[in-house]
Structure formats: structure tokens, C-alpha cells
């Protein structure tokens, strides 16, 4: 039974206050009929006796108090799913926008999902090869992980995200792989880039796209990532696919959240973001993972642009506390024309220890990556010193480290946008670079591995 009300009392920004409502439930989906007959969606934010506070997913322009009709649907926001959603493009609320045929739903799923029982989770241990050395070699991604890209305005995070989506695969397996891609508040050009990218690489048939553009209603963005993750959960756990979810750009999502919070006059937390930002972000990011006994998995790569490249801004900060590491882009490398400009030192993949090594990638992976890390860190430090004091002030050792870090950026980090390096290639570049350093400095790699991987090549 659908109840319709004409009792709107207040409209403030995206919020609508309704009176005299019976039987409204928290988080219930509503349809808002505009005076011109068009219909938008919204949901219940708060209900007190017969007073209901709604948030409208559409822009509220054109609404008036007298004629606006609100219908309560008795259910929460749902996404119709079936296997045919692959290859389709939807808007931010899950409505087809690619002029394709109607989706005949196999079932409808609540977009909010339920928390996975921590006991039912399986630990991510399968290495995903992205073909990008700076990620595979030093900050490897594993299946079921959530690894955000922290970027900034003007950095090529979208190209990197697209490259990851194109090249990702699990070593030695030919399983069903799907990409679920959600945009929130990005520009038409950026979205177009992705859609073309998917088309030209013939990757669209294994992708589902949810597009919310910069000029789409901001509040719709609250639902978009949840739509995408609901689709991902369906593909992963019911269709047994390995799903990679790309969410871009989470900053705009958080801003939409802040907009609602401000309109509700809630007590703001840091920088005006609501106090529940952490919990809210967790309800998105934590939908990544693997479940014991399930074949499929969900790996998440949220992209977020840090305002003013500030890592301590609440959005990257809270994200970093929920996700398992972060890939940070470097403006300095970008300026020097290095693509992909990945800042490997502050980047981190927390799950790498269990995803690499013998039987997963190669026995020397862990030691080698530690060695490269510390050598590069030292080289960069020495380089900074040289800037202040001049090259002459460096010790012989430090000069070698500087040489190493230059070579590291040129040969290890830098690679082509369509260059897909295997993990073996990545590791051998790493060993090759270590030859620059005196052997006594290689303290983090095992003796026999030096012999096997570094010197074996030299003698021949």
C-alpha cells in the first residue's frame, strides 16, 4: 500500500519536512512528485511521531510547499540486479542511461547491505598483478583489499585508475573478472574518458558503470557508491566473480554528506564534516573483502583528491584509517614528467606481507621491496641534502644512493600508460637497480637471493 502526502511544511536545501505522516519508517524510500509532474527519489532521515524529515536525491528546485506530493514506498532504496547488468551504464541511482534494453531484475537488493560477520571473512592473500611496478613491486594489491589512491587536482589519478582496471588480473588464474565503476561528481570529460577507455579496450562487457556527474544532484552521490557495491556484491557472491570496484571521487561524496549534515544543523566535526563521517565511510569501504567459502571477492580502489594535497584533511585521514594502506601520488614526480607519479615512500599496502613471497609471487619479493624502499628513502634524503649543501658535501656512499634513487624513478617507477609489466619483470628491474649500491649495503635481502637473482645475471 502506497501512502501519498501533500503535507510538506518546510523545504530547506535538500531537506523536506513533512507533517501528519503515519507509519513512516527510518531510511524508507520515498517518491517526491514535483508540481510539474516529474518524480524524484528521497529517503527518510529522521522521524518523530508524525513529523518526517526527508532528504531528496534530486535537486529541490521547482518544489513548492502546496503542491509537492510525497509517497512512502514501504521499502528502502533498492537496486534491481541480474547478470545482464554487466556492460551497462547506469545513473547514480541505478537507472539505465545508455539507451540499452530494460534490465529485467532477477532480484532487488537493499543498497545498504549488512555488515559482514568478521568471523565469516577470509583474509586476503591472493596477489593481484596490476602491471604497474611501483604498485606490484612495493605496494602490492591483494584480492579483497581496499586500497585508495590519494591524489590532488591536476594529477593523473584517473589514468592510473583506468590502467589498473585494464590490466588487473590474478596470477595464474583465468577466473571471471569484473569491474564495477562508480563516479561521484566528476566532470563529463572525465567520465567520458573512462567510458571510452572501457569501450576501446573492449572491457565494457565485463564492467558495470554508475555515473553521477558534477552537475547531477549532489545528494544522489550518497546513494551512488552503495549502488555500485550492491552490484559488486551480487556479482562477487552470487555470480562468483572477482570484482574490482573503482570509486571516484570520494571527496565529492563526503562533500554531499557534509551538505546534508549542514542542512540538518548537526554539530559539525572537523572542517564542518559530520561527526559520523568515519562510520559512514566505513560502511562503504568495509564492503570490500572475501567471505569464507565464497569464490568471488570484492577489491576496492577508491580515488580521492586531497584538498590542497593535505594528507591530514579529514577525508584522506579517515579513509586511511579504514582502508588497508594508500597509494599516494606525487606532484614532484608529475612535474618531472614521470608517469605514473606514484610517491612510493608514504604509500603503503598493509596486506602485502601475506600476498607475496614464495608460492604467491616470488620468494625474494618481500626482502627486495624492503631493500628498495629503504635505499630509495636514503637516496631521496641525500638528494635533499645535496640541494642544500651541494653535491660535494655528500659521502661516496650517499652519492651512490642518489644515483640509485634517480635510476629508481626513471626505470622502476616510470613506465608507459599501456605498459603491462609482469611481476618478474618488475622484480628484475629492482635487482638490476640494486647493483648500483655496494653489496655490503644490501642488508635487507638474503645472501642466497643476491646470488640467485642479482649476481647470476652478472656472471653471464
Amino acid at each position: 500500500m502506497v501512502k501519498e502526502y501533500l503535507t510538506v511544511k518546510e523545504i530547506v536545501g535538500p531537506l523536506i519536512l513533512l507533517q501528519g505522516v503515519e507509519g513512516a519508517k527510518y531510511n524508507e524510500l520515498v517518491e517526491v512528485e514535483f508540481p510539474d509532474g516529474s518524480i524524484g527519489l528521497g529517503n527518510v532521515l529522521e522521524v518523530e511521531e508524525d513529523v518526517v524529515l526527508l532528504q531528496s536525491f534530486e535537486t529541490t528546485s521547482g518544489l513548492n510547499i502546496a503542491e509537492t506530493r510525497v509517497r512512502f514506498t514501504g521499502r528502502s532504496l533498492e537496486l534491481p540486479v541480474c547478470k545482464d547488468i554487466l556492460g551497462r551504464v547506469f545513473d547514480g541511482l541505478g537507472r539505465p542511461m545508455d539507451k540499452g534494453p530494460r534490465v529485467i531484475p532477477e532480484k532487488k537488493l537493499d543498497i545498504n547491505g549488512s555488515p559482514i560477520n568478521p568471523f565469516a571473512r577470509d583474509y586476503p592473500t591472493d596477489f593481484i598483478q596490476t602491471g604497474i611496478s611501483a604498485i606490484d613491486g612495493l605496494n602490492p594489491l591483494v584480492r579483497g583489499q581496499k586500497l585508495p589512491i590519494f591524489s590532488g587536482a591536476g594529477l593523473p589519478h584517473n589514468r592510473i585508475a583506468a590502467q589498473i582496471a585494464r590490466q588487473s588480473g590474478v596470477l595464474g588464474e583465468t577466473e571471471d573478472f569484473a569491474v564495477v565503476f562508480a563516479t561521484m561528481g566528476i566532470t563529463f570529460e572525465e567520465a567520458d574518458f573512462f567510458i571510452r577507455e572501457f569501450r576501446t579496450q573492449a572491457a565494457l562487457e565485463r564492467a558495470v558503470l554508475f555515473i553521477n556527474l558534477a552537475d547531477d544532484p549532489a545528494i544522489e552521490r550518497i546513494a551512488t557508491p552503495r549502488m555500485a557495491l550492491t552490484a559488486a556484491e551480487y556479482l562477487a557472491y552470487e555470480q562468483n566473480m572477482q570484482v574490482l570496484v573503482l570509486l571516484t571521487d570520494m571527496t565529492y561524496y563526503c562533500e554531499a554528506l557534509r551538505e546534508i549534515s549542514a542542512a540538518r544543523k548537526e554539530v559539525p566535526g572537523r572542517r564542518g564534516y559530520p561527526g559520523y563521517l568515519y562510520t559512514d565511510l566505513a560502511s562503504i569501504y568495509e564492503r570490500a573483502g572475501r567471505i569464507k567459502g565464497a569464490k568471488g571477492s570484492i577489491t576496492q580502489i577508491p580515488v580521492l583528491s586531497m584538498p590542497d594535497d593535505d594528507k591530514t584533511h579529514p577525508i584522506p585521514d579517515l579513509t586511511g584509517y579504514i582502508t588497508e594502506g594508500q597509494i599516494i601520488l606525487s606532484r614532484e614526480l608529475q612535474r618531472r614528467g614521470v608517469y605514473p607519479p606514484l610517491d612510493v615512500l608514504p604509500s603503503l599496502s598493509r596486506l602485502k606481507e601475506k600476498g607475496i613471497g614464495e608460492g604467491k609471487t616470488r620468494e625474494d619479493h618481500s626482502g627486495l621491496s624492503n631493500q628498495l624502499f629503504s635505499a630509495y628513502a636514503r637516496g631521496k634524503e641525500a638528494r635533499e641534502l645535496a640541494v642544500i649543501l651541494g653535491e660535494a658535501a655528500l659521502s661516496e656512499e650517499d652519492k651512490l644512493y642518489v644515483k640509485f634513487s634517480d635510476a629508481f624513478e626513471e626505470r622502476f617507477i616510470r613506465q608507459g600508460e599501456y605498459e603491462n609489466r609482469s611481476i618478474e619483470e618488475t622484480l628484475s628491474i629492482g635487482w638490476e637497480l640494486l647493483k648500483i649500491l655496494p653489496r655490503s649495503e644490501l642488508k635487507r635481502v638474503k645472501e642466497e637471493q643476491i646470488k640467485k637473482y642479482m649476481e647470476a645475471g652478472v656472471s653471464r
Partner: protein, 603 residues
């Protein structure tokens, strides 16, 4: 059954009206799904309820049932090896019964009602007992004997006692309390927000041995102490906490994952059962309780989870055990407080946190400590609380960190700078502190070696001096240093790399006994001392710093615990190499690998 109805829903906050005789912190069930909640505010007839589960679909008019009791946990055999959510629902049973997701309104008792335990009595009919007296024991796991205690408020003569296999609800004893017979079972209930009783609190005296060199040697924590670990993300905080849970020498480990990552919790849940307890050789889980409330699980249950954890800790403390409680992270707990406070429309304090944040944090940490337990035998037990904080942006001046630092005694300052350089554990030796040094120095002196305190102090001063010298090197270059200073830099580097750095994933390195810590530190300091003497004899620093012994010192941390005699040999070798006049041709010094081989052949 006491019923009321819902009048308002705003996220996890539900306001109910018409509840007969509602009390603060009473447990209630909301709606048809019977969602669990707790009354946190009363205004006239209206009760504000924080609901521990997602409230979608709840609306005005829905039924609210009050249980008339505060949120309590069940205490008895079966706690160990369990994995609970924030309100003591067993996650494993829930998965078996309800599937992979936590559906709403799930109800499962914390302790199994069907499992039988072998109870052996320690009292006999006619004995007078008081609260805390041990009635008997149950072998709860292979390593822990569970002591069944007389519950609070029960005192009198035993009129009946049984032995054999019982469930936690069966009566095992009857106590004539003067006012009538009281039936005692193996299970007690205790409200989580109330500290369990004890006779008196005592100051901590003994260090908690964690096997982590930087902790035990430089910044020790005492049994019954409190510590705080802040960490900007990516600084290895969790690895450190896991290492302490694995290796600390307390009998019971309670690990509260409070608002943290699901995968991280899975790591704990999967790894703990496979870990071997270094002290008993049995699985570590046999003395562990895990509480997992991940960030996407309801925020109100997160708020309750630390209380659930500390109440379980107190229960084992009351049996006379040393308990380590780890809460990861208390910042998430504070955020849960803030979120709920915001929904209650309370006036916010700093950064939106409620004004009572400091009081609540202090009250939580104050529940740890070394106490004389209830019961006639006056046994002692302790709880050591280690809470992590996650300061936003690594900014330690934020309210949660500041409120925590006011109450804890140990501060392990994790720094991302160290983590970037792959220095683990990334505890800063410059910014950390421990206020338990005096107590532990005495213990080290008695148990390990009398020279410990002096050695530690000397090592610490070298590290501090290094920081100053580094500034000079940065500005003027290494040439500006005297030979003595260069040696000091080298020793400090050795201290950092060969002593402070510890690999949690390496079998030989993950745990270091106090004895080995001492020997290793002495070895490094011996190098410094002997080399210094040689410098005084007029030798140049270059010839002292390129010796194969340095590499051997670097490997000393991997020396097995049962071959600690090796340290004596190393010290002899060290003296031999440092004092030997160099006869080797110059070229060989620059080939350390050959030098190692020569040394190995010689030994």
C-alpha cells in the same frame, strides 16, 4: 513484559515513550526484530535509546520492550577461545546459524548453554564462604584453570556442593546466607559499565615482558599498568599490538578490536588460533578472548565493546590472573561517543567530542591495575591496559590523545617517519616515555643483571647525542665530527638497526627474552667502549669501523634463545678484532664478504 513504543528515530538513536519505570542504562529491545539497545537519557516519560543495530525500517509506534536490567555480560567457563561482538554475542555461532552477514535482532547467549564443564570442588559442606572465595575449578582450556568464585552479595555456609560435569546454568553449590538458600551456578552476570569489586589496589611492581626490545629495555610497561600507542596510519601500530598480545607474559589476553578494519580483525581471528603460545607450546587462543566490532558494525555496540572487554578482563583478574587488555582503537570508541552525543543534541566540547570524554576515558583506564582480589586467600591479579589512539592527521594535540595521555603511564610514540624508513617497530626512542622505569629497574637488577640500569641509561644517552650530532652532520657534513663522535654515530646506528629494529615476522627475532636483550645491548655497548679505548690509544676511527665484527653484531639478534652462550664468544671476538693491530692489506678491508669468510674459518 514491560512495553512502550517508539516516537522518534534518528540513526542509531531511538526515543521511546510509555516504558514503565525506565532506568538509565537499562537494556531494551526495539521493534519487531527485537533490536538491542540501551537507555542513555530520560526526560519525563521519554527515554532515549542507543540501538546497537542498524535501525532502518523502525518507525513511530513500533514496540519497545524493557528487560529492566542493565547491559551485562555472562561470566563463566567458555569465555576463553571465544570471539564476540561488542555486546558479547558469539560471532562464530552467529555465522553458523545466520550466515555470513550479521542480520539484525540476532540473539545468542555469550556462554553455551549445552556445553558441559568438569567442576572440581575446593570447598566442602559447612565451610563459610564470602564473595570471591573459590568454590572449585574447571579446566577451561589446556592452559588455564577457571576458578569458580562466589558471586558478589552471596555470603554464608555451604549447605550443598557437587562435583562432575555441569552446564553453566546447573547449580553446583548452595549457600545458606542466613536469609535463605542461594543457588550458585558456574555463570555470573555483571553489568559492563560497573567496575567489579576488589579488596584494594596496589601499585605495579613487575614489568610485563613483551619480548619487544624497545619496549622491555627502554620503555617498559608494568603488570597492572596502562599504556597508550598513538599511530598515524601506516606506522605499524597494529603489528606492534599483535606482537604484544602474542608475546606478553600475562596469562590472559583480551583483545578488543573497536571500530577497526574488517580484514585486520580477520587477520587476528585467523592468526590467533594458529599461533603457538611461547610459554606453554599450546595454541595462544586457549588463553585469549577476542572482541571484534569492526568499523562498519553498529556504532553503539562499538561504544559498549571496550566495557565488555574490561569486564571480562576484571573477571579473570579476580581469579588471580595477570591480564593484558588491548583496545584498538580508543579513538574509534571516542568517536562513537561523539556520534551518539551529537544525536542526543548535547552541547559539544572540543572538536565536537562530548565534554565528558576525559572522564569516561579516565574511568576506563582506571579499571586496570594490580589488585588484591576478593576472597579469603587474598590472591593478587592485574590488568594491564594498552589502548591505541588514532590521532587525525597524526596530530597528538587532539582531544582523545590528550585526554588519554593524562591518565596513562607509558607512551609508545609510533612515528610514520620511522615506518617509511622501514624501521619497525616504529617506536620513537626520542618521544616515548615510561613512568614505570624505577619499578622495572629493580626487577631487572634482581632477575637479569645488576648493571642493566646503567647500561640502559648509557645507550639512551648515545641515542640522544646522535640526534644532536645528526643536526651538525646535516648542516656541515660528516667531516666536522671528531673521531669519538663518529664512533658514537656508528654505535647509535648499531643500536637502532641491531637492537631497536625487530622483525615481528621473523621466528628468531619476533621475541627476545630479557636475558638476550641484556646481552645484545651489552654487546653493542661493549663495542662502543672497547672502540673508544682504542681511539684513546691513538688509532683512527676508520680502521675500527670496517671490521667484520660489526656484521656479526648485526646478526646477533637472530641468535637462538637456547644458544645465548654465543654472546660471550662474540664479545671475545669483538675485543680481539678491535684490539688487533691491522696487518691485513688495505684492499681486504674493502671486501667485507671475504673478511667474513676468513673470520668464519678462523672460528
Amino acid at each position: 513484559m514491560k512495553e512502550g513504543y517508539v516516537v522518534k528515530v534518528a540513526g542509531p538513536l531511538v526515543v521511546a515513550s510509555g516504558l514503565p519505570d525506565p532506568k538509565m542504562y537499562d537494556l531494551v529491545k526495539v521493534g519487531e526484530d527485537r533490536l538491542m539497545g540501551e537507555i542513555i537519557e530520560l526526560r519525563g516519560d521519554r527515554a532515549s535509546i542507543q540501538v546497537y543495530e542498524e535501525t532502518s525500517g523502525i518507525g513511530p509506534g513500533d514496540v519497545v520492550i524493557s528487560t529492566g536490567e542493565p547491559l551485562s555480560v555472562e561470566l563463566g567457563p567458555g569465555l576463553l577461545t571465544s570471539i564476540y561482538d561488542g555486546v558479547q554475542r558469539p560471532l562464530d555461532t552467529i555465522m553458523d546459524k545466520y550466515g555470513n552477514y550479521i542480520t539484525r535482532g540476532v540473539e545468542e547467549p555469550g556462554l553455551s548453554r549445552t556445553r558441559k564443564w568438569n567442576f572440581r570442588a575446593l570447598v566442602k559442606v559447612g565451610d563459610a564462604v564470602e564473595p570471591g572465595d573459590v568454590l572449585g575449578t574447571v579446566p577451561e582450556t589446556k592452559v588455564i584453570t577457571h576458578r569458580i568464585m562466589v558471586p558478589a552479595g552471596v555470603e554464608g555456609k555451604i549447605t550443598h556442593i557437587r562435583e562432575g560435569e555441569f552446564t553453566v546454568e546447573d547449580t553446583i553449590a548452595v549457600v545458606d546466607s542466613g536469609g535463605g538458600d542461594v543457588q550458585v551456578s558456574m555463570m555470573q552476570k555483571w553489568p559492563v559499565r560497573k567496575a567489579r569489586l576488589y579488596v584494594e589496589k596496589r601499585p605495579p611492581v613487575e614489568p610485563l615482558v613483551t619480548g619487544q626490545r624497545i619496549v622491555d629495555t627502554f620503555f617498559p610497561i608494568a603488570k597492572g599498568g596502562t599504556a597508550c600507542v598513538p599511530g598515524p596510519f601506516g606506522s605499524g601500530k597494529t603489528v606492534l599490538q599483535h606482537a604484544i598480545a602474542k608475546w606478553a607474559n600475562s596469562q590472559i589476553v583480551i583483545f578488543v578490536g573497536c571500530g577497526e578494519r574488517g580484514n585486520e580483525m580477520t587477520d587476528v581471528l585467523q592468526e590467533f588460533p594458529e599461533l603457538t603460545d611461547p610459554y606453554s607450546g599450546e595454541p595462544l587462543m586457549l588463553r585469549t578472548v577476542l572482541i571484534a566490532n569492526t568499523s562498519n558494525m553498529p556504532v553503539a555496540a562499538r561504544e559498549a565493546s571496550v566495557y565488555t572487554g574490561i569486564t571480562l578482563a576484571e573477571y579473570y583478574r579476580d581469579m588471580g590472573y595477570d591480564v593484558t587488555l588491548q583496545a584498538d582503537s580508543t579513538s574509534r570508541w571516542a568517536e562513537a561517543l561523539r556520534e551518539i552525543s551529537g544525536r542526543l543534541e548535547e552541547m559539544p566540547g572540543e572538536e565536537g567530542y562530548p565534554a565528558y570524554l576525559g572522564t569516561r576515558l579516565a574511568a576506563f583506564y582506571e579499571r586496570s591495575g594490580r589488585v588484591v582480589c576478593l576472597g579469603k586467600d587474598r590472591r593478587e591479579g592485574s590488568i594491564c591496559s594498552i589502548g591505541s589512539v588514532s590521532p587525525p592527521g597524526g596530530d597528538l594535540s587532539e582531544p582523545v590523545t590528550q585526554a588519554t595521555l593524562r591518565v596513562v603511564k607509558v607512551f609508545w610514540a609510533l612515528e610514520d617517519r620511522l615506518a617509511f624508513a622501514r624501521h619497525f617497530p616504529a617506536i620513537s626512542w626520542m618521544n616515548s616515555y615510561s613512568l614505570y622505569l624505577d619499578q622495572t629497574e629493580e626487577y631487572w637488577g634482581d632477575e637479569v643483571d645488576a648493571t642493566y640500569a646503567a647500561l640502559r641509561e648509557e645507550a639512551m644517552s648515545i641515542l640522544q647525542r646522535e640526534a644532536e650530532l645528526q643536526e651538525i652532520v646535516r648542516l656541515i657534513g660528516v667531516e666536522a665530527l671528531s673521531d669519538q663522535e663518529r664512533l658514537l654515530m656508528e654505535t647509535a646506528k648499531s643500536l637502532r638497526e641491531d637492537f631497536l629494529q625487530q622483525n615481528a615476522f621473523d621466528d628468531a627475532d619476533a621475541f627476545t627474552s630479557l636475558r638476550k636483550q641484556f646481552l645484545l645491548l651489552r654487546l653493542i655497548m661493549r663495542f662502543h667502549a672497547v672502540a673508544n679505548q682504542e681511539l684513546e690509544k691513538g688509532r683512527g676511527v676508520e680502521e675500527l669501523l670496517d671490521l667484520p665484527i660489526q656484521e656479526e653484531i648485526a646478526r646477533a639478534k637472530f641468535m637462538p634463545e637456547d644458544q645465548l652462550g654465543g654472546f660471550d664468544e662474540l664479545e671475545e671476538e669483538l675485543v680481539r678484532q678491535l684490539t688487533a693491530r691491522v696487518e691485513v692489506p688495505q684492499a681486504r678491508i674493502h671486501e667485507p664478504s671475504t673478511a667474513v669468510e676468513t673470520a668464519a674459518e678462523g672460528a
